[in-house]
């Protein structure tokens, strides 16, 4: 069966972001971009399913500006078979992304879509759930274990109280949490090989999807800064301060 993974190009998780002075967003010029870490976990899981003989082909999809091709190349270097780029300069919000992914899914007919539970830029945590809703498929979000057998997936999910296991019918959407796996690094030969793997390019117009944003960002601001940095010399001093100054114990 085919697996489809969606990979988002985001500001690298190590970068300390800066809010633009005009409050329209955060500075992205000359900032290191990488694949959303949760999507790396999605690619890795698809690779493991292929290595286990369950998945036959892995398609990596990215949506956005032309440079998203680099993100797809990263997935191909990890081992995905081919890529699809839905290219647009428009701002894409999760509902639009889910609609575009649905259009790609209907063309490719994967049995499973694996995607990060959230992107570390907008922190929305929506796309996987929206995609499965639009497809009328089941969803297993925040996965920390995935077992596929007999046209079903048994998925262990990270929930607030601990772990929960659900059984979902395939085709389905699975979103990844941190403990699902540890993504591999692409080896140099695989990076070279990835350059020859095909990437098909399409557009929202060609897919017939209206991507007009539903949310308007009125402003983006810095959060209030904490005044920290005070050190105390001893436990006795700490306990005293907590009692008399902070009054929290």
């Amino acid at each position: 069966m085919k697996a489809l993974v969606a990979v988002k190009r985001v500001i690298d998780y190590n970068v300390k972001i800066r809010v633009k002075a005009d409050k329209t967003g955060v500075e992205t010029a000359n900032v290191k971009m990488s694949m959303n870490p949760f999507d790396e976990i999605a690619v890795e899981e698809a690779l493991r399913l292929r290595e286990a003989g369950i998945v036959s082909e892995i398609i990596a999809v990215s949506l956005g500006v032309a440079q998203c091709q680099e993100t797809i190349r990263t997935a191909l270097a990890m081992g995905a078979d081919r890529g699809v780029l839905v290219q647009t300069d428009a701002e894409l919000q999760p509902l639009a992304v889910a609609k575009l992914l649905k259009a790609v899914v209907l063309q490719e007919n994967p049995e499973i879509v694996i995607i990060g539970k959230q992107a570390i830029d907008d922190d929305c945590n929506q796309t996987g759930q929206m995609l499965s809703a639009l497809l009328g498929w089941p969803q297993a979000t925040f996965a920390s274990k995935l077992k596929i057998s007999d046209r079903h997936a048994e998925v262990t999910r990270e929930v607030d109280g601990g772990l929960e296991t659900v059984s979902i019918r395939l085709p389905a959407v699975v979103t990844t949490d941190l403990r699902l796996n540890e993504p591999r690094y692409a080896s140099l030969p695989n990076i070279m090989k990835a350059k020859k793997k095909p990437i098909a390019t399409t557009t929202p117009e060609a897919l017939g999807v209206d991507v007009t944003p539903r949310l308007t960002i009125l402003k983006v601001e810095e959060p209030p800064k904490r005044q920290g940095g005070h050190k105390v010399g001893s436990v006795a001093e700490l306990v005293d301060k907590l009692k008399t100054e902070a009054r929290v114990i």
Binding site: I11, A98, D160, T165, S167, R226, I249
Partner: protein, 312 residues
Amino acid sequence: MAALVVAEHDNAAVKPATLNAIAAAKEIAGPEVDILVAGKDCRAVAEAAAQIAGVRKVLLADDGAYDHGLAENVAPLVIKLSENYSHLLAPATTSGKNLMPRVAALLDVMQISDISAVVSPDTFVRPIYAGNAMATVQTADKIKVVTIRPTNFKAGAGGGSAAIEQIGGEGAKGLAAYVGAELSKSERPELTSAKIVVSGGRGLASGENFKILEKLADTLGAGLGASRAAVDAGYVPNDYQVGQTGKVVAPDLYIAIGISGAIQHLAGMKDSKTIVAINKDEEAPIFQVADYGIVGDLFQIVPELTAAVEKK
């Protein structure tokens, strides 16, 4: 304008985050706030919800299909009810995050995730980039689907007496089935609503060593949390994780022990009233946000702190 809040519960009791979501709903819709309790044999939950101050009506959907809150089954029910509401809300907990985007997509609206403030009924503030920026967003959608960051809205009191209206279910969709759960059992206060939280990181070096934190936590009556590093290393279960993609906490006192303070961790705790950091590395970023920092060996300091708190 009217808001429907999807209650989070375990068929026995209302989860505290529901109260925070109701507080946000009241800011948006004033007196027109209804609660949906969807579950199985969950009348007790509806009765408890009816006592929350400011609730107009409790809708009770008691049906086997809703036993474990599967999004595939609950979403169609919320959508059926949506015609009576301008806002559909849930706390931004794992169950709210799982359910509400499914509802939003089926209504063809964008969800507004994890809001930290209500500006007006169509405008909200939400953290992005692990809380390193705050975005004010306005929605043009007719029905607003919103999840609420519980720590930013103060839970109201009891004393209400709303009517309970039994409603029919939409049945099971047969897409997903609940298999089982391994829930952490603890006598300690729940992490997201605890007044004091004691958290440990990689500096603990083993799961066994978390015992010294347990002792401190129990002395303080605190909840116990951890950094991602400690969870990834297997010291403690996943539900301990505080951070951008784990739990967000804002207790009166947060004690970070052996935690360096990556931005992803700070995202989950920097709204705490008072932060204490204990770390042997005086350059650790956690000290920049800490009101009180102690540089030193946690294996010495923590037992000493426990003893000092016990004595007082």
